[in-house]
Each structure stands twice: as C-alpha cells, then as structure tokens.
C-alpha cells in the first residue's frame, strides 16, 4: 500500500512535469525519489535468523506461572527495525515481560524475549514467531512466520482430600484402604474366632477366652483392600454454567482431579469416562503412569454437545465391572435421575459429587440480577431431586460452589459423613 502510493505519487509528479514541461513538478518528485531510494538501499540482502524457544517447565498447574525464553541470533546482514513477535495462543495470558520487539539487529547480535505466562487449563500450542523485516520506512516489507513450535500443558489444580469414605462392595486382592468384609490383617474389628497357632499375642481376646474353660479366642480384623473405581465426568455443554470467565465445569474438573489423585495414590484402579461431545475413556489402571494418563485426559477435557450423549441413558455401562463403585461428578439434571437410579438398580454403588450450580451463580451475581422467588424455586427443585436420588440409595454430596473449591473440598469427609448418616436415618 505504502510502496504503491509513494510510487504512484512520484510518477504522477514526474509525468506531469514531462507533459507540462514545468520543472517544478520534477523538482517536487525528488523528495519522494529520495525517500523511495533510501528505502530501497536499506533492504537487507538476506534474512538469516536463528531462533530458539525454551519453555520450562512445559507443564504446570493452572494458576502457576512459567517462564518462556526466546533467543534470537542474527547470522546474516544488518536488519533495520525488524519486528519479531512470538505468537501466543489466545488462551494463554502474559503476566510479565515482553512477547515482541522492534529493534535493529546487527550481524552476530543476540537478542532475547523473556516473559512469563499463565493460562486456562488445556494443551496450548505455540505456532511460531512472526518476523517483519525490510526497510526502516515500511515500504518494502517481508513478512514471514518462523515455525518454532512449542507446547504448554496447563494441568487442572488438585486439592488435598483427607479421605473419601466410600465402601466398595467388591474389592481386589491388594492391600488398600477399603474394608473388604473378609477377615485378616487390618484395623477395624471383624470377628472373634478360636485361637490358632501363630496368632499374635495382642490379637487374643482375653475377655472371651476367660468365659471358656479350655480354649483361647483371638480377634479377627477386617482386611482393607483396593477397589476398582470409575469416575464419570459430565462434560455436556448444558452442565457448564458460566458467569463471566468462571465456569462450573472447571470446578468439576478440579474435583475429579483431586478425587482421582487420592484414589490412585491409595493404590486403587481408577477409570475415567468424560462424556460430552464424545466419549473419552481412560480404562482402569493404577500407578504413576496411569495417574499421568488420567491427568492428561482431564487436562484436555472440554464441554461438548452430542445428541446421543445428551441423555445419560445412552452411556454404555457394560464396561463398568459388576457391582463396582462409580463416582459421578455432575451438577445433575432432573432427567439424569432415571439413569442414576437404574445404575443403582443394577447393584452399582454410586456416589454423586454435585457442585451446586445455584450457589455457583448466586455467589457471582449481583443481588439485582436475580429474583428471590426464582432462587427459592430452583433451590426447592434441586433439594427435591437430590432427596429422590438419596432415597434410591445413591450417595449424594452437594458441594457449595460459592465457596472456594479448596474450602468445599476441605469439608468433604465431614459433609459426607453427615449426608451418609442422613441417608441411613431416612432409609
């Protein structure tokens, strides 16, 4: 545009001078000719930049900051007013430093771009660096993208949960934390049986033995084993309530991460199903590698819309081992009741962890944005839905989403026991 305009004006003046034979036009075309000429002389003969980008660490937890270092070395001729800009993914925010520069680069000169980023959960790709070089007056400009790719994984936050007091009916053979209804070594009292040679002295039940004439009795404790647990994360678009930039889905992902971390840490086999636009399975597994797989799946979890999986009834349930423990993380819609109660009917043990969407929105809205009556009706509806689920034998944990997640998860076991007692008393 600039080159075209300057050349056009120059030739108009020049041609006017030739046509009218007025030397003033020729004279006035000289400043433009000088301007274009200097620009032409300043064009670099070649551009030879060596660029490297260091992102350390390449994975970090949401809310943390990491440092990105871009090193530029000019191995070619002098570049005047060269623009170098690192193309940052939209979902990443720069918190400190600079992502672009405009400078003169002499041969063998070294420049650095150093900045800190933070961002949303997910996998973010850096496309490359945009380089604009040419003359200093912007008439002849060469734009190119230096394709230095980079990747940053921003993991969901996870919070410490003391325990999840679920009691899976079916346990595995390895030592874990869930009572297995089989006598053996453990902490919780299970039974009294006749003393057998080899029983430890401290297991002898002296009061029971005293009642007998010639026999000793020893205590048996309940074995504590690991279990197979499936986590189901609701990623339907309608389950994601958003107020400004805050999203209920993020809270659900963080809850799932915290629960998964604890369960895997305790040696259980954990599977993860994320359903929204499609089904994302992470099959049962345990150990550090499996924890990484689960984390990777949760890192890239996104909400989506699907006609099929919009209804929970279409979820394939055969993959869940019979009578296994299922932890369902969702705000829960009224239509979900049928599927959840049918799961319970098929003898699965279901725990619903439900961040309350009403308290989530109320905590972030101004009081003028909602009507008191509407809130009361919504609360009554939700209370009714949750009590129906509890009556079906499903354990429900209603988390207050207006509180910071670490606070609501900190209250996790206490709230759970309270609810569990409530279920027992109601049944």
């Amino acid at each position: 545009m600039r080159l075209f305009l300057s050349m056009t004006l120059f030739f108009i003046l020049f041609l006017l001078g030739l046509i009218t034979l007025k030397e003033e036009f020729i004279l006035l075309s000289l400043p433009l000719a000088v301007y274009i000429g200097v620009a032409l002389i300043s064009i670099p003969a070649d551009i030879d930049l060596k660029i490297s980008r260091k992102i350390e660490p390449s994975r970090f937890i949401r809310g943390d900051q990491i440092e990105v270092l871009v090193q530029i070395h000019n191995s070619g001729n002098i570049l005047r007013e060269v623009i170098i800009e690192d193309i940052i993914p939209d979902s990443v925010t720069v918190v400190d430093g600079h992502t672009s520069l405009i400078a003169d680069l002499c041969p063998d000169e070294h420049l650095e771009l150093n900045y800190k980023i933070t961002g949303k959960r997910g996998i973010h790709h850096f496309e490359g660096l945009r380089i604009v070089s040419g003359d200093p007056f912007g008439l002849f400009q060469l734009r190119m993208i230096n394709p230095i790719e980079g990747e940053v994984r921003i993991l969901p936050r996870s919070f410490r949960i003391k325990s999840i007091p679920i009691r899976p009916e079916v346990t595995k053979g390895y030592t874990g934390f869930f009572p297995s209804k089989v006598g053996g070594t453990g902490v919780e009292f299970f039974n009294v049986r006749e003393y057998q040679p080899g029983d430890a002295m401290n297991t002898i039940n002296w009061s029971a033995s005293a009642r007998s004439y010639d026999r000793l009795f020893s205590n048996e404790y309940q074995m504590e084993n690991t279990a197979d647990i499936w986590l189901i994360l609701d990623a339907r678009r309608r389950s994601d309530f958003m107020v400004g930039v805050e999203s209920l889905f993020e809270i659900m992902v963080e809850i799932t991460t915290s629960v998964a971390q604890l369960l895997i840490q305790n040696g259980n086999r954990v599977g993860l199903l994320i359903f929204g636009g499609f089904l994302d399975w992470t099959y049962l597994g345990s150990g550090k590698k499996h924890r990484e797989k689960v984390l990777a799946a949760l890192t890239k979890a996104k909400t989506g819309e699907s006609r099929i999986f919009n209804k929970l009834g279409n979820l394939p349930t055969r993959i869940f081992p019979p009578r296994s423990q299922i932890i369902f993380v969702s705000p829960i819609h009224s239509e979900d009741y049928v599927f959840l109660s049918s799961l319970r009917g098929r003898l699965y043990q279901v725990l619903c962890i439900s961040p309350d969407p009403i308290s989530f929105e109320l905590g972030r809205w101004d009081q003028e944005d909602y009507s008191e009556l509407g809130v009361r009706i919504a609360k009554v509806e939700r209370r009714f839905l949750l009590s129906r689920l509890r009556y079906s034998g499903i354990q429900v944990l209603n988390l207050d989403s207006s509180l910071p997640i670490e606070m609501s998860l900190g209250r996790f076991p206490a709230v759970f026991f309270h609810r569990a007692n409530l279920i027992r008393s109601q049944i």
Binding site: G17, L18, L21, F25, E85, H98, L101, I102
Partner: protein, 166 residues
C-alpha cells in the same frame, strides 16, 4: 509527551502553515482555511489513533501541491510542505507499526534511531532538491526525454530488485 509525538505535531504544523501561507500569498485564502481545518481533522485522527488517515492526508496535500504549482506558489514553500507531509506519513506508519505490537519490549531506543534516520533523509531531500533550485535548471524537451529514460531504467531496476528480494 514523547519525541515521536512532538515530531508528528511539528510535521503537521510545518506542512499546514507553509501550504496555507502559500495559498494565502496567491490570493486563495479560502483554500488556506480549508487546509487548516483539514489539518485539524488529521491531527484529531492521529490523536484517536486512526493511522490510516495519514494516507488521505498525503493524497489531499499532494493535490493541493499540484494546484499550488499551477497558481504559482513559490517552489520552496511547496517543497517544505511536501517534506512535512512525507515526515507525517512516515511517522504515523512507524507509530502504527509499534502500536500493533502486543506487549512490545522497550521502544524508546528504536524511536530515537528512526527519528535520526528520518532526519538524515530530510537533509538528503533538502540537499538534492536545493541543487537544481540553485542551478536554476530549465526543463526543455531533450532534458525531459533524458529524464524519462532514466526513470524507465530506474523503475525496471527497482521492480527487478523487488521481485528478487521478496
């Protein structure tokens, strides 16, 4: 106020007042008022970061300069105007290039260098245009044909260079 802003304001003042003064001297005071009003508009354009207005400013002033030649405004006035207009056009382009950069590193140094380069170019412009002014070269047919040939050769070289480089 940054030096670049001062330079922009100085360039617009220089070009406006020289052209306005030229038209005023040639009994075109209504044109002078129009030029001042338009310059105020372009100054506001700069203030509100409408950098594209610099192209319009260049074209409008170019038209006024051509008109000025026909109504015999002194050539040195038109030269000052043209240099002022080119400086304004260049500085606005530079400002827009810098402002388009997201989160740019310190631009103070490069601003200074750009202003220095522009000053050298202005001096070159003054020097090169003053030579024919002093020598009072008359444009006849032979000289015009010679200049046309030079222009054709220069243009073809520029196009070749441009195609090779980009």
């Amino acid at each position: 106020m940054k030096r670049i802003e001062i330079a922009v304001i100085l360039s617009i003042i220089l070009s406006t007042f020289s052209l306005g003064f030229g038209f005023f001297m040639a009994d075109g005071s209504e044109f002078s008022i129009l030029i001042i009003v338009l310059s105020l508009f372009f100054l506001f354009g700069y203030w509100f970061k409408f950098y594209w207005t610099s192209h319009i400013f260049l074209v409008i002033n170019f038209v006024f300069i051509c008109l000025g030649i026909f109504i015999s405004i002194p050539i040195w006035i038109l030269l000052i105007t043209l240099i002022g207009v080119i400086v304004y056009w260049d500085l606005l382009n530079f400002t827009s290039r810098v402002n388009n950069l997201k989160n740019a590193d310190s631009i103070f140094e490069i601003e200074e260098k750009h202003l220095r380069r522009l000053l050298i170019v202005i001096l070159c412009m003054g020097l090169i245009t003053s030579i024919p002014l002093i020598l009072e070269i008359q444009l006849n047919f032979i000289f015009a044909v010679f200049l046309s040939l030079v222009a054709v050769v220069g243009l073809s070289q520029a196009v070749r260079f441009y195609n090779r480089s980009f």
